[in-house]
């Protein structure tokens, strides 16, 4: 069965390394994916605030495309793979709202019919965390590891959208799927209470003093707990936490230098994939390495 891959805008632009590393890792795990043909913007959170019905219709078009895509579902419902946390939430929310509100479903169905599409609600919206833990399994991932991330301490950061409000595959208050995955890679997850605390979202663009403060809380706490890196599954979280570290140094004299990596980049490293395959050359803060891998095979702390 092939997953219907919905990249969304981020994975084609600022979050390119997320796409590169995700596809590389899935290839290494022999998980077949195909990009949905002619997908469109999910609408993000912004469009919902402008016009709900149109926003739902916009997102529903992607659900309809995935549901009707050819490609061997073998009687199982089509699976739409949405790596961006915002896309994932919007698609999931759209699906739930259409299932619960007949009047909305009617309007959206009419809109889809106008472009010769149909949507019945059979498609399943999946996040890579969900697929990696529940479909692939941590055992299979651990077996594929060639460069165990031994000695690396990782702060798993889930962000606000992956488990809230729906918590489709993990717990709301203390999610653990990412922690289990990095454990399978040989790394040690840092126990910290900020796994789902707000990263600032779009506030860095609108009210930067608030946004920056929220970014700093996460970075400083991860640093305080001796994390070698923060690992995330959301392009906006990754951007917020990585790209403002320079500004924090200028404004607050924070000495952070904390790598903020996509989970799939971390997995790819453990699988022994090349830096360019994982988009690591695009990072602002150099990626965290296993001590043995650093400096040409010599242990960094030796």
């Amino acid at each position: 069965m092939r997953y219907q891959y919905f990249p969304g805008c981020s994975l084609k632009s600022s979050g390119r390394s997320y796409e590169e590393s995700l596809l590389a890792v899935l290839r290494a795990l022999e998980v077949p994916v195909e990009e949905i043909d002619d997908w469109n913007c999910c609408g993000a959170t912004a469009y919902m605030a402008v016009d709900e019905v149109q926003a739902f219709a916009l997102a529903a078009r992607n659900l309809a495309l995935a549901e009707n895509a050819p490609g061997g579902a073998n009687g199982k419902p089509a699976q739409i793979l949405a790596p961006c946390a915002a896309c994932y939430l919007v698609l999931l929310k759209t699906q739930r709202y259409l299932a619960e509100h007949a009047d909305l479903k009617q309007k959206v169905t009419a809109g889809l019919q106008a472009i010769h599409l149909s949507y019945e609600g059979r498609v399943q919206v999946r996040h890579p965390l969900d697929v990696l833990v529940n479909d692939v399994g941590t055992d299979r991932i651990a077996r594929r590891v060639t460069q165990p991330l031994k000695g690396m301490k990782v702060a798993c950061y889930y962000g606000c959208q992956v488990v809230r409000p729906f918590a489709a595959f993990d717990t709301v208050h203390n999610p653990t799927t990412m922690d289990r995955l990095v454990t399978a890679l040989g790394a040690t997850p840092v126990d910290w209470p900020l796994k789902t605390r707000c990263c600032g979202g779009t506030l860095n663009g609108t009210i930067p003093e608030v946004g920056l403060r929220l970014n700093r809380i996460l970075l400083n706490e991860a640093k305080r707990r001796k994390a070698d890196a923060i690992v995330t599954v959301c392009p906006l979280c990754q951007f917020n936490l990585e790209c403002y570290q320079g500004e924090m140094r200028r404004k607050f004299h924070d000495d952070l230098g904390l790598p903020v990596m996509y989970l799939t980049q971390m997995i790819g490293q453990a699988f022994g994939l090349s830096d360019t395959a994982l988009g690591l050359q695009r990072m602002f803060v150099p990626p965290a390495r296993v001590p043995a891998v650093q400096e040409g095979g010599k242990a960094a702390h030796a």
């Binding site: 203390n174 209470p193 900020l194 809380i217 706490e221 305080r224």
Partner: protein, 669 residues
């Protein structure tokens, strides 16, 4: 035979519609209803009156019966649950058999649930027309009289059960007190002090526990559960399961030699009485004042019971030869007339509020744990210490954990504000720490309660008004390093605060017990939506249930404190005594009987009866209903293929008349 019951000649019906102040008259045009009913066949008198349940209202019925020679009475007013008895009595006082009366509920079923006056008035007329037609086929019936067995079963040995049992026993009635745990005492035995007087819970409870044990009128069965209930008011047959303690209870004197001699030299299993804060051995007595003062063996941890292999040093140590590893479950059958359920509550499980860190941060405690910590006989001898043995310098108490919360339980648990104040006082007294209360509203309605709150304010305890968002351990400042941080919106100063603390106490709310549904089914009573046992009337029958002879007391009916629990236990005992001393009870004659000439002997009805009231007469090849056991549920009536079962008050003709009456004018529309 019931078939020969007089039908009282040609119907002369008196009809009365009640205003119930404006409760009914505010929505239903009562005059229009009375005028309409006056035109119906058989109606001799049709009146409206402000309060039919008042003495003059009842007198009106009696007078009309005498002067107008009425032989049927219909009243349109409130629910039969409230006043059917009143009007039946008035009918009887007027000289008629009370079952020639019929009630129409136009308050709960009409005025309270509708706003459109014209439609409501029409519905009132329709329902009344059905009742008028129904009483044509009413018959005189005689209520059943059943004797009341004087023995009482009390289920649950907390303060409610203890108080009810002692009250009844002191009145000379025999009481069976059944308690699930190895000792009586319930939650109250675990508390340190009681609010607002700060008298020691054990000091006031243990004398009552001893009194239960030594009372000649009380049979105390601890470590036991009710396994089955059969019968009906006055005549309940109850099966009690006694779990094996592996100790001959009548021989053991609680010397604890066996505990000392146990092959486990150290206590290593979580002690239930100290909510896991200390350890016990596989053989133990729950606490020093446990009643009965008898040890028990825990089959989950005792090597002999678990693996069948142990040196049995305990047996050598017991010179009274009390230990018996061959004991098994034992069942006792008893007969009682009344039952008091006092099964209590369970504390809210804070695992359901993970954002408060219970189970994640070791120094987050439940209130019940802190009750044990501050108790002189508790795991630390009354010293309030953290898990690492250090003394807290700042302690926070979070109110409403699992109360007043859409995500967990919506109700106010009533006792938490007061016990939080008590714990604040005790913790401050024991440690000198700064104590913070995080509350939504302070609810202190009780004798001396507000004064106690005032005392705490003067003691310098801090009060922050706001629901706590989370308990966490991420530090924003050096002062917060290594502390628990409570994040809360202080709604009185209008800002979000971070309060660093060493210890956090969760004031857990009160919940129905996990098996409340099983218990209610066994005793054939109801639960309210949130799961607490449902009283017959929230104001006027607070300890009665909808099952005659079964009463409820204490926190199984809803969260309440000790004074209210004791008052309710006394009330339940008084209700039981009232039945016992009356000697008998009149039951609704709505029982079913079999018309033998029509019964084909197919036995379909026999297994269907939930009350085992139907037997099969082999000599006649007919079914037979024991009317003393029949509860009038109607299951057999509906199931009988030959239509040979008749139920008093619900005869086919009566039901069909009612339907005809309801539909007669609707059909013309």
């Amino acid at each position: 035979m019931p078939d020969a019951t007089p039908t009282n000649g040609t119907p002369r019906i008196g009809f009365y519609v009640c205003h119930c102040g404006t409760n009914i008259a505010g929505t239903v045009d009562v005059k229009a209803v009375a005028d309409y009913v006056a035109t119906l066949n058989g109606v001799v008198v049709s009146r409206e009156y402000k309060y039919m349940c008042s003495d003059p209202g009842q007198e009106l019925i009696q007078q009309d019966i005498r002067e107008q020679k009425l032989n049927r009475i219909v009243v349109a007013s409130c629910s039969p649950l409230l006043h059917e008895h009143t009007f039946r009595h008035a009918t009887e006082q007027g000289g008629l058999n009370p079952f020639f009366f019929q009630m129409v509920n136009i308050r709960e079923n009409v005025s309270w649930v509708h706003t459109d006056q014209a439609a409501a008035t029409q519905k009132a007329k329709d329902l009344t027309r059905a009742a008028i037609r129904r009483v044509f086929s009413h018959k005189a019936l005689e209520p059943k009289r059943v004797p009341i067995n004087a023995a009482v079963l009390v289920v649950g040995g907390g303060i409610a059960g203890i108080h009810a049992a002692l009250t009844l026993a002191n009145a000379g009635k025999h009481v069976y007190l059944v308690e699930r745990e190895p000792t009586i005492g319930g939650h109250m035995a675990m508390f340190d002090k009681t609010f607002p007087t700060l008298d020691c819970a054990a000091c006031i409870l243990t004398p009552k526990m001893s009194a239960v044990k030594s009372h000649p009128n009380i049979t105390l069965w601890t470590y036991s559960e009710v396994a089955g209930v059969d019968g009906y008011v006055g005549n309940y047959k109850v099966k009690v399961k006694r779990k094996p303690r592996y100790i001959k209870e009548d021989l053991c004197v609680g010397c604890m030699e066996c505990v000392t001699a146990c092959i486990y030299k150290d206590a290593r299993f979580p002690d239930e009485f100290n909510v896991g804060l200390s350890k016990r051995k596989p053989v133990y007595i729950p606490f020093p004042q446990a009643t009965p003062q008898v040890v028990l063996f825990d089959p989950e941890t005792c090597l002999q019971l678990k693996k069948g292999k142990c040196k049995q040093t305990c047996i050598e140590a017991c010179d009274r030869e009390c230990i018996d590893f061959t004991q098994t479950e034992e069942f006792k059958d008893i007969e009682v007339g009344t039952i008091i359920l006092a099964t209590g509550f369970q504390p809210f499980d804070p695992a359901k509020t993970p954002y408060y860190g219970y189970g994640r941060y070791p120094n987050v405690y439940t209130a019940l744990e802190v009750e044990r910590l501050v108790n002189a006989s508790g795991p630390t001898g009354g010293e309030v210490v953290l898990r690492d043995g250090s003394h807290p310098k700042a302690v926070g108490i979070i109110h409403c954990v699992g109360s007043r919360d859409e995500k967990t339980n919506r109700w106010c648990s009533r006792v938490c504000c007061m016990y939080s104040l008590k714990l604040a006082h005790l913790v401050k007294e024991h440690t000198g720490a700064e104590v913070y209360n995080f509350y939504i509203d302070m609810r202190t309605p009780g004798k001396g309660y507000e004064e106690f709150y005032d005392k705490l304010l003067k003691e310098g305890v801090h009060f922050i008004r706001g629901r706590v968002a989370e308990v966490t351990d991420w530090a924003m400042t050096p002062q917060e390093e290594g502390k628990l941080v409570v994040r809360v919106e202080d709604t009185l100063i209008g800002s979000v605060r971070r309060v660093p603390l060493d210890m956090v106490i969760l004031a857990q709310g009160l919940e129905p017990r996990a098996d409340a549904q099983d218990v209610r089914r066994m005793f054939n009573i109801s639960c309210a939506t949130e799961g607490f046992f449902l009283e017959r009337h929230p104001k006027l029958a607070p300890v009665n249930t909808f099952t005659d002879g079964v009463f409820i007391a204490g926190a199984c009916q809803g969260p309440r404190d000790i004074p209210d629990t004791v008052a309710q236990a006394g009330a339940a005992a008084a209700e039981a005594l009232a039945l016992i001393d009356a000697g008998h009870m009149e039951l609704e004659p709505n029982t079913a009987y079999i018309r033998e000439e029509d019964c084909s002997g197919c036995k379909s009805c026999v297994p269907l009866c939930p009350y085992k009231a139907i037997s099969f007469l082999e000599d006649k090849k007919k079914a037979w209903i024991n009317e003393a056991l029949c509860k009038g549920c109607g299951t057999c009536v509906a199931a009988c293929p030959s239509g040979s079962i008749v139920q008093n008050l619900f005869e086919d003709e009566q039901i069909f008349n009612e339907i005809d009456g309801l539909l007669s004018e609707l059909a013309q529309v």
